[in-house]
C-alpha cells in the first residue's frame, strides 16, 4: 500500500474512532435535550394510558390520525438502508461505501420507532396480545406484524454483519480510551475477527445472502403496510397502485432522511474527506428520480379517480384540492415534489446545503403526505351523517415529538458508541480504485493523492 493511501486510511480510522474516544459538552447538551423531548412524550403517553384514547382527537368516525401517519412515515424511511446498502451493493455502486452504515442504522432505528406507533395507537398496549391470540391470517394487520418484525430482524443482522470488522478495529485501536465494559462489548461483537481469508469469505457470504433476501423483504413490508389501507373499500384507499406507491414513497423519504443524517454526522464528526459532495449529488439524483416517480403516481392515482368519480371520491378530491386540506396538498405537491426536483436537477442549485434543504422539504412533506393518505379518507362519511373533523390534541403532538426525539436519540447514541462509517469497506474500495494508480506513481508515473472532494 502506498504512503498516501496508508495516510488516508489512518485518517479514516481516526475519524471513525474519534466519536468513540471522546465526548464533547455538545453531545451531552444535545442528548439532554432529546431526553427531555422523549420524556415529555412519555408523560403524554402516561396521560393517554390513564385517560384512554379519549384524550386524543380520534373518535369513532376518524379512528386513525397522526400515530398511524407516523407509523407509515417511519416504516417508509426505513427503506433508506435497503436501497443504499442492499440494492446499491447488488449493483456494485462503489460510491455507496462511506454511507452504507448510516443507511443501515437509519433502517433499524426507523423500524424500531415505527413499530411503536401502532402500539401507541392501540390505546391499551395489553391488547397487542389479542393480535396473536385471535389474529386472522386473512387480516393485513397480522401480515403487517409479521412483515415488520421480519424486516427488523433482517435489518439488524444486515447492520451487524458489516460492523464486525469495525468492531475489531475498535477492539484493537481504542485502548484505554474505552472503558473495560466497552472493550469487552467490542471484543464480543467482533467475534474474533482478524481479517483472515476464511473469515472474509464467510463475512462476504453472509452479507451476500442478507443483501439478496433483504430487498424483497423490504418491498413486501411497505406493500403490506399499504394493504392495510388498500384492502378496504374506503374512498381514497381502495386503490390497486398503493403497493408500488408506498414503496416508491418509502424509498423517496428514506433517501431524504439519509441525506439529512449524513449532513449532520459529516459535520459533527468531520467526515468531509470521506463523505463528499459526490455522495450528496448522487443521492440527490436518486431523490430527484423518485420525485418524478412520485409525481407519476400522484397523477395516476388522482386522474383516474377524478375521471370516474366513484361514490365518495368526489368528496375526497374536493377536500384534498379545494377544501380543508388544500393547503397541505398543494404544499406537498410544490414543496415536497416540485421544489426538491428543481434543486437537484438544476446545476447551479446542486450544492450540499441546498440538496440537504431539498431533503428536509421532502422529509417534512412526505410526513404530510402520509397524513393526507390517512385522515381525509376517514372523513368521507360512510353513512348519512355529518363529516367529522380531526385536529390532533396536545397528547398526540407530544407523543409525535417524543417519537422523533427517540429516533434522533437512538441515532445519536449509536454514533457515539459505534463507527458511523464502514471503514473496512471504504479501505477495500480505495485499494481497488486507487492502489493501482498509486503503485504506478511509485514506479515513476506522477499521480495526485486522493482528493478529499471525491470527484
Amino acid at each position: 500500500m502506498t504512503t498516501a493511501l496508508a495516510e488516508r486510511h489512518e485518517r479514516l480510522d481516526q475519524a471513525v474512532l474519534a466519536p468513540l474516544r471522546r465526548t464533547t459538552w455538545r453531545f451531552y447538551v444535545w442528548t439532554a435535550f432529546l431526553l427531555a423531548v422523549v420524556g415529555w412524550g412519555l408523560y403524554a403517553y402516561s396521560v393517554q394510558l390513564r385517560g384512554g384514547l379519549a384524550v386524543t382527537a380520534m373518535r369513532d368516525k376518524i379512528s386513525w390520525g397522526i400515530y398511524i401517519s407516523s407509523f407509515v412515515f417511519f416504516i417508509g424511511i426505513s427503506h433508506a438502508g435497503t436501497l443504499i446498502s442492499a440494492i446499491l451493493r447488488v449493483a456494485h455502486a462503489p460510491w455507496r461505501m462511506p454511507i452504507t452504515r448510516m443507511a443501515e442504522f437509519i433502517t433499524v432505528v426507523a423500524l424500531m420507532v415505527g413499530a411503536l406507533m401502532p402500539l401507541i395507537d392501540l390505546g391499551r398496549p395489553d391488547r397487542l396480545a389479542n393480535m396473536f391470540i385471535f389474529g386472522r391470517w386473512q387480516s393485513p394487520l397480522l401480515w403487517d406484524i409479521f412483515s415488520i418484525s421480519t424486516y427488523l430482524g433482517g435489518s439488524m443482522l444486515y447492520l451487524y454483519f458489516p460492523l464486525i470488522p469495525d468492531f475489531a478495529l475498535a477492539r484493537d485501536r481504542l485502548g484505554p480510551d474505552a472503558s473495560p465494559l466497552r472493550r469487552w462489548t467490542y471484543t464480543t461483537l467482533a467475534v474474533g475477527w482478524r481479517g483472515a481469508l476464511t473469515q472474509r469469505r464467510r463475512l462476504a457470504l453472509a452479507m451476500g445472502m442478507m443483501m439478496v433476501i433483504i430487498i424483497p423483504v423490504a418491498v413486501s413490508v411497505h406493500t403490506v403496510v399499504s394493504w392495510v389501507f388498500a384492502m378496504t373499500l374506503r374512498p381514497g384507499w381502495n386503490s390497486t397502485v398503493y403497493g408500488a406507491y408506498f414503496v416508491a414513497g418509502a424509498i423517496f423519504s428514506g433517501i431524504a432522511m439519509l441525506l439529512i443524517v449524513m449532513a449532520v454526522l459529516r459535520k459533527i464528526y468531520h467526515l468531509e474527506e470521506f463523505i463528499t459532495v459526490k455522495h450528496f449529488r448522487y443521492l440527490g439524483y436518486l431523490m430527484g428520480a423518485f420525485t418524478v416517480i412520485m409525481v407519476y403516481f400522484v397523477l395516476s392515482e388522482y386522474v383516474t379517480i377524478g375521471y370516474k368519480l366513484p361514490e365518495g371520491e368526489d368528496r375526497l378530491l374536493a377536500e384534498l384540492f379545494t377544501g380543508r386540506y388544500a393547503l397541505l396538498t398543494w404544499g406537498y405537491l410544490f414543496g415536497g415534489l416540485l421544489v426538491p426536483a428543481l434543486i437537484v436537477f438544476l446545476p447551479w442549485t446542486r450544492r450540499i446545503g441546498l440538496i440537504v434543504l431539498a431533503a428536509v422539504l421532502v422529509a417534512v412533506f412526505m410526513w404530510i403526505e402520509r397524513f393526507l393518505i390517512v385522515v381525509p379518507s376517514l372523513q368521507v362519511p360512510q353513512m348519512p351523517y355529518e363529516p367529522a373533523s380531526y385536529f390532533p390534541s396536545w397528547v398526540e403532538w407530544s407523543i409525535l415529538a417524543g417519537s422523533f426525539g427517540l429516533f434522533a436519540l437512538i441515532i445519536t447514541l449509536f454514533s457515539r458508541f459505534f463507527p458511523v462509517v464502514s471503514a473496512w469497506e471504504v479501505k477495500e474500495q480505495d485499494e481497488l480504485e486507487l492502489a493501482p494508480a498509486h503503485a504506478a506513481a511509485a514506479h515513476g508515473t506522477p499521480v495526485s493523492a486522493p482528493s478529499p472532494a471525491g470527484d
Binding site: 391470517w137 409479521f146 454483519f161 467475534v191 482478524r194 476464511t198 457470504l205 453472509a206 442478507m210
Partner: protein
Amino acid sequence: MNTEKGPKWITVGPVLLLALAMSMLSAGPALAQENRAPTVLTVAAADEFDLGQSGLIIATLTDKTGKPIAGARVTYVTPAEFAGAVAEVDLGESETDENGQARLVYQFRTEGRIQIVARYFGNERYQPVQSSVAVTVGGTAQLYQPKAGLQIPVFGSWTLAAILLGVWSVYFVSLAVVWGIARRPAGGEV
C-alpha cells in the same frame, strides 16, 4: 206528554232492520266458518339438530275424518325476539302433496330451543289451523364464510407461514455462517 202518537213500528222498524243487518254481517263469517270443514294439522321434525345442519320439517294436513288435503299452502314461521321486539320470522312455505304432507327443508342457523309453527290459512272449504313443534339446535359451527380475502389453493394460510419460515431460515443460516468467523484461522492465515 207526547201528543203525537204515530204507530211504534215507524221508529222501531229501522232500528230492528239495522240490528238484523249488523248481526248478519258479524255472524256471516261465523256462519261461513261453521260451513267450512274443520282441519287437523300436525308438524313433525327431529328433536335435535346441529348448528348449520339442514333439517326436514313435515306438516300433515287432513280433515276431521283423517282424509289428506292436497294442494294446500302451509306457511312455516318461528317466533323470535330482537332488541326487545317480538315477531314471527318466516322460514318458508310449501304445498301439501296427495298425502296431505307439506315438506320444508330448513338450515338451522341459530342455536337453542326453536319453536316452529306451521300454519294453514284455510279456504272456502276448510278452516284455518296451526300447529307447532319444538326442536333443539346445538353446536359451535362457524357458519359465515366470507368470500373476500386471500384464498390460496391447497396451502391456504400455510403459504404465509412457509414464506416466513423461508426468510427466517436464511437469517439463521447467515448467522451461522458469521458465527464461524469466531473460529481461529488455521495457521494464522491472513
